[in-house]
């Protein structure tokens, strides 16, 4: 007991010391008559802090005054008060500018008990004033249980005085007479903040409540409440990781990627499918970044889970089509940017969870206190039992699972320099019966250096190295082999941000990436009798991108975001390139020559400008109209002829025969907020046309094909859609309804008619699902219990179905497939519910636990996973994942 008390006191003491030190550093002296935005930038640079804000919020507000060691908070709040804003200190170095009237998400978290910040509480009385100091005493208790909180820190902010509560939760301290803000804090509880007007000595008691909102919800707090109206760019979706965790889960694991598919314009081809489709784009048209490193596979266990460990995710942003600005490129449809959390630089923490199929554990803490930190976490699956449930002899004897590990080290090397190191390892494996073993995985490493030249000029440098690999090994029979395929890449990027010009934020920089693709090497194993060694020549290429972008606030109503990107690609040797005979379809039989290129010798170059433009015109304070256009180029192509991607699908770079894909997207939207920004409504329309997107010929052989170009076609695509969204962002009930109507069609014409797909006519893409409806509902029943429900509806995906049957020899009948994707499986809909019980930190215990009870597909609808046809071409509907209950347990310490 004493040890625990000592530890608590130690922690509390450290905490007190840290806060006291930090806040006394942020003192303002001098005479000011400076725009608020400029003042913030100067302060950020001076104190090495981060103040989340949007310059356009401040309009013409200025910091005016003559200060002498005045706390930064006071100075800023004085300047922001006239425009109904205030600044909130979230942590030692993190400040958030928020509206006076919409303090979220803490509003929701405190609605049952905490004192409103605006309320000034009088302590003592004027009649009892003696001198200029007073003694404040009282109790700090758990707001739910009434139990005293020992070791809580009580801190008077402006006077920088503090103390801690004793074992009975009692505190007593001497503070100056006058109005000042008090903060009451203890590990695992939300800070209790009260504005006290101290007239004389007196008593003030504070109840603390469990910390429901965790640090990694900072994404939400960093935005203004009217971000969707005020931001210039459309098609940018940010998801709160806490929201992701509370959503109903499949088999006990929160999933970042699956949650994305509830957003307007984001779909998936089906349950259990890896990846996602954005505004008429294939899975391979999404650039997925984790701490700046590129991921070529975003899923584990064939698509059941995403590669992102939800405990380690700081924030995730999806840039849909038109939302991709000039600083990003390389894919036609979207960029998913996932940033991982930095470790706590002050205290050690851990968190983890156990679900039906996997367990996870992560730790974070300081390496050098206040200077550097680490964050490490891993997951491991125990999913073999699942395969044993299946009534198939091979699957019963099979194994499947995965593990992954993230590491992030953050280091403040000087007040103007931050260095981050990030690493990621993942491995999936599955063994079919007793012979074939598949493994695939990702290895990533990145280093990022943020430097501040001045308060107006910043530099962001990043270097990444990565590999995605897939191996197959067959250890039985006469065809024993091992096959290895991989993609290596190495990239470096440099970005500069300048705020030298009022109302402008200039960004410029560049990125170069070297790709090496090895589509496969097949080698016979020692026992092989009938396996031929096959080596697909390695492909090498360099992708470059240079850009200049300006975010310009023209006036209160008009803002423009314009940029120009120039991208180029150089496919280089060493490589032998086949030359095909003109006038006949390309095939191995039509090769007439081979051109050899030496190492580094350029084989084929492509390049072009990619203009990006967005404009926002504010109709009034709560509504705006936005338009956008952008052009995107893609040089790396995912080649797949299955509806859902598989781990062994190959990537192909642009070369002499494969041209880069190019798309143009036009968007227009109307955005309006209601009810003091607590309800957000929007309507967005887009049209996208694409050229040279990769398609495949009927019966294409895409694996270990040295002449892959002979099985491919390059066609065009057209996609259009309308996205409607209605969100409620505040209060105990939150959620959204989104509806998307969209169409995506492709056309692949060959100069040889028999090679054209569907006779050269437009046909729906695999992922063309015109109607999509998502309803996400979250209701906080009590402080600790949250109810969630999701409903999804979508049109069935297109399939290729037989139009007739025929008989071959004495064998069974065979279906005759004519045209691609001319039929659809039935429509899909599903309701999921979950209950999250947050048990909070038990008093004096350092573990906070959370249970999630989920039911996937509550009404057990037999949604069609596929329609297949028997020998007699009788149609059957296969349904998977009916009513699936699951339980997961999560903990934080």
């Amino acid at each position: 007991m004493k040890l625990r008390t000592l530890l608590l006191a130690f922690l509390a003491g450290v905490s007190f010391w840290c806060h006291a030190q930090s806040e006394s550093d942020y003192l303002i002296s001098g005479t000011y008559d400076t725009p608020v935005a400029q003042f913030i930038q100067e302060s950020q640079s001076k104190f090495n802090i981060k103040v989340y804000h949007k310059p356009q919020w401040f309009k013409q507000a200025r910091v005016v005054g003559d200060y002498s060691n005045e706390p930064l908070l006071n100075v800023l709040n004085a300047a922001l008060a006239p425009i109904d804003l205030k600044v909130f200190q979230y942590s030692k170095t993190l400040f958030v500018v928020i509206p006076q009237t919409a303090f979220r998400p803490e509003d929701a978290a405190r609605s049952e008990g905490p004192i409103p910040l605006d309320q000034v509480i009088t302590v003592g009385s004027d009649a009892a004033v003696q001198g200029d100091m007073a003694t404040i005493k009282g109790y700090v208790a758990d707001g739910q249980t009434g139990d005293p909180v020992a070791g809580a820190v009580v801190y008077a902010i402006s006077s920088a005085k503090g103390t801690t509560t004793n074992e009975d939760g009692y505190y007593e301290m001497e503070v100056p007479i006058g109005q000042q803000q008090f903060r009451f804090s203890f590990l695992g509880y939300q800070n209790g903040v009260a504005m006290l007007d101290i007239k004389s000595s007196g008593t003030f008691n504070m109840d603390l409540y469990d910390q429901v909102t965790e640090l990694n919800s900072v994404t939400v707090t960093a935005e203004g409440p009217d971000e969707n109206v005020q931001s210039v760019v459309m098609g940018v979706e940010k998801m709160d990781i806490q929201m992701v965790k509370r959503m109903p889960v499949l088999m006990g694991e929160a999933d970042v990627v699956r949650s994305l598919t509830l957003l307007p314009g984001v779909t998936t081809v089906g349950e259990g499918a890896a990846g996602f489709n954005v505004r008429g784009g294939s899975v391979g048209e999404n650039l997925i970044l984790q701490d700046g490193s590129e991921l070529f596979n975003s899923s584990h266990l064939f698509g059941f889970f995403s590669v992102f460990n939800p405990d380690l995710v700081e924030d995730l942003t999806l840039y849909k089509g038109g939302g991709i600005q000039a600083d990003m490129g390389g894919r036609l449809s979207s960029v998913l940017n996932v940033n991982l959390k930095e470790g706590d630089k002050e205290e050690f923490h851990g968190r983890g969870g156990i679900g039906s199929l996997m367990g996870r554990l992560s730790l974070e803490g300081p390496i050098i206190k206040e200077k550097s930190s680490f964050s490490v976490g891993g997951r491991i699956s125990y999913s073999d039992w699942l395969l044993k449930q299946y009534n198939d002899i091979d699957l019963k004897k099979s194994k499947a699972g995965f593990n992954d590990l993230n590491l992030k080290i953050s280091n403040e090397i000087s007040p103007k320099d931050n260095l981050n190191l990030s690493g990621y390892l993942s491995k999936d494996y599955f063994k079919l019966a007793n012979d074939t073993v598949y493994t695939y995985g990702t290895k990533l490493g990145s280093i990022g250096w943020d430097h501040s030249f001045s308060d107006k000029f910043f530099s962001y440098t990043n270097a990444s190295i990565g590999q995605y690999y897939s191996d197959v090994e067959d250890e039985e029979g006469v065809n024993q082999f091992e096959m290895n395929a991989k993609i290596n890449y190495l990239s470096a990027s440099q970005e500069f941000v300048s705020n030298h010009f009022d109302m402008h934020e200039l960004k410029f920089g560049g990125k170069v990436t070297k790709y090496e693709i090895n589509q496969g090497e097949l080698r016979p194993l020692p026992g092989a009798l009938n396996t031929e060694e096959i080596t697909i020549p390695e492909q090498n290429g360099y992708e470059f991108g240079f850009y200049l972008a300006d975010s310009w606030t023209v006036n209160e109503k008009l803002s423009v975001n314009a940029g120009l990107r120039y991208s180029m690609f150089n496919n280089v040797g060493p490589e032998d390139v086949y030359v095909y005979q003109d006038g006949v379809p390309m095939s191995t039989g039509s090769i007439i020559d081979t051109l050899s290129y030496g190492s580094g010798e350029s084989i084929q170059k492509y390049g072009g400008f990619e203009p990006r433009f967005s404009l926002r015109y504010a109709l009034d304070e709560t509504s705006s109209i936005k338009v956008g256009y952008n052009r995107l180029r893609q040089y790396m192509h995912l080649v797949s002829n299955t509806a859902a991607i598989t781990p062994v699908d190959v990537w192909q770079m642009s070369n002499s025969y494969i041209r880069p894909a190019v798309s143009d997207q036009y968007t227009i939207g109307y955005f309006r907020n209601f009810n003091d920004n607590s309800i957000e409504a929007s309507i967005e329309l887009y049209y996208k046309s694409s050229d040279d997107i990769l398609d495949y010929k009927g019966g294409a052989n895409l694996l270990l094909n040295e002449t892959l170009e002979t099985d491919l076609l390059q066609g065009e695509g057209r996609a259009k859609g309308i996205e409607l969204s209605l969100k409620k962002t505040q209060g105990r009930t939150t959620g959204w309804i989104s509806y998307t109507y969209s169409r995506t069609e492709l056309r692949a014409i060959s100069e040889f008619p028999l090679e054209s797909v569907n006779n050269g006519n437009w046909y729906p893409a695999n992922y063309d699902k015109p109607h999509n409806l998502s309803v996400v509902f979250t209701h906080q029943l009590t402080k600790r219990i949250t109810f969630n429900a999701n409903f999804v509806y979508s049109t069935g995906r297109p399939i290729t179905a037989p139009t007739s049957v025929y008989q071959i020899g004495p064998y069974r009948q065979f279906p005759n497939y004519s045209e691609r994707n001319q039929f659809r499986i039935p429509d899909y809909h599903r309701l999921d519910v979950s209950l999250t019980i947050d048990r909070g930190f038990a008093k004096f215990k350092k573990i906070k636990s959370e249970w999630n009870f989920s039911i996937y597909n509550v009404y057990g609808r037999k949604n069609a996973y596929s329609i297949y046809f028997s020998d007699t071409s009788r149609a059957y509907k296969l349904a998977i994942l009916g009513f699936v209950p699951s339980v997961s347990y999560n903990f934080i310490f």
């Binding site: 019963k396 079919l432 002829n641 495949y696 025929y806 064998y811 296969l878 349904a879 998977i880 994942l881």
Partner: protein, 371 residues
């Protein structure tokens, strides 16, 4: 990649609440019919056959009847203009008028002239070089895992393999497998073995020679040319022990060596046959063989279905008995069920001539089956 697909597919099934239901699919009604020409000529001197049929509209198809073309003119033409005529026999199958064979120095194509004058032809095919080894089957008693009441158990059976020799070039094989056996009507006449009933006609029989239904699988192999001269065994099929093994069981394997184009055609057919339409299956596609419509087809875009091949063929047969397999199984006798009333009708257990198989040779087995 079939194995990968199986596992991917299986994993998502997970047995949690998987179910399969018949589905009333709204098939396209306005599909044009197409013609299917399927057959081959080999270097075996025997009667060859070519089947001509139409595609059957899938909405009308009940899984029973294929739409056979019985009134076409079918000829195989060599590159010097000589014709081999075929006549309709049964169910769209046209048979050569006598034993014919493909010769190594000639090319052949099939020409089918429909009653309305429409002509379909294949391209010319030549006889591929013979494999280093003629068809050779081997067999052994073995076991395979099966699921019984959701638990894994071992099942006894015969593993049949083909012996293949490496050549200087890659070779492409397909095997046509057939099974033959002797069936016994345990309640029939009291003959002790087939020899005792030899020569009997128009009387009940206890032992009949049977050709079983052919396996519904395609057995394909691309024989890689590495290490010429080496031989190896490739497993063809596993036949569970049943009462068909009570006396004599014959496995016949016809080894067809073909050109790569023909092999790729059969490979595509096999791929489609395994396609379950799932997320991890490759998109289905029309399998185009080497049949083209000759008339009213100026740009050559109208193609027929099927394939006409010229193959190098050889046959091996293995006769198995319980003694040769080293087993001594007793099988439950065939019993006549009680008649509900009236005059009992003849039953298979009393007269094996009543068994319906693709071929019931009764007392006259094929010439190669000496007894």
């Amino acid at each position: 990649m079939k194995t990968l697909r199986t596992l991917l597919y299986g994993f998502v099934l997970v047995g949690l609440s998987t179910c399969v239901d018949p589905y009333e699919f709204e098939f396209q009604k306005d599909t044009e019919e197409n013609f299917v020409i399927d057959g081959y000529l080999s270097n075996e001197h025997r009667v060859h056959q070519i089947r001509v049929s139409r595609t059957t509209h899938i909405g009308d198809f009940n899984g029973v009847v294929a739409d056979y073309v019985t009134n076409a003119t079918v000829v195989v033409i060599d590159d010097q203009g000589a014709e081999i005529s075929f006549e309709h026999d049964d169910a769209g199958v046209y048979k050569s008028l006598g034993p014919v064979q493909a010769l190594p120095d000639k090319a052949y194509k099939v020409r089918v002239t429909l009653i309305n004058g429409t002509v379909y032809e294949s391209n010319f095919q030549t006889l591929p070089e013979a494999a280093p080894m003629e068809s050779e089957l081997i067999y052994e008693l073995g076991y395979q895992d099966v699921l019984v009441n959701n638990t894994i158990q071992e099942e006894q059976g015969v593993k049949v393999s083909a012996v293949v020799e490496k050549g200087a070039e890659n070779q492409f094989y397909r095997w046509e497998m057939n099974h033959y056996f002797i069936i016994e009507s345990d309640a029939g006449p009291g003959f002790r073995n087939p020899q005792e009933q030899r020569g009997l006609t128009d009387t009940e029989l206890r032992f009949c020679f049977i050709k079983d239904y052919p396996p519904q699988e395609l057995y394909l192999l691309e024989n890689i040319s590495n290490a010429p001269g080496d031989t190896y065994e490739t497993e063809i099929e596993f036949i569970p022990i049943s009462n068909k093994f009570e006396y004599v069981f014959v496995v016949e394997g016809r080894q067809l060596v073909m050109a790569e184009d023909a092999y790729r055609y059969w490979e595509d057919i096999q791929t489609l046959a395994e396609n379950a339409g799932g997320l991890f299956d490759s998109a289905p596609f029309p399998v185009i063989g080497n049949i083209t419509r000759v008339t009213d087809n100026p740009d050559g875009t109208v193609v027929g279905l099927g394939y006409f091949g010229v193959y190098n063929a050889s046959v091996d047969r293995k006769f198995m008995t319980q003694a040769s397999l080293g087993i001594d199984e007793e099988f439950a006798p065939c019993t006549v069920p009680p008649s509900p009333g009236g005059e009992p009708r003849p039953h298979q257990c009393q007269d094996c001539r009543l068994y319906e198989f693709p071929e019931n040779y009764e007392n006259s087995p094929p010439s190669w089956w000496g007894y």
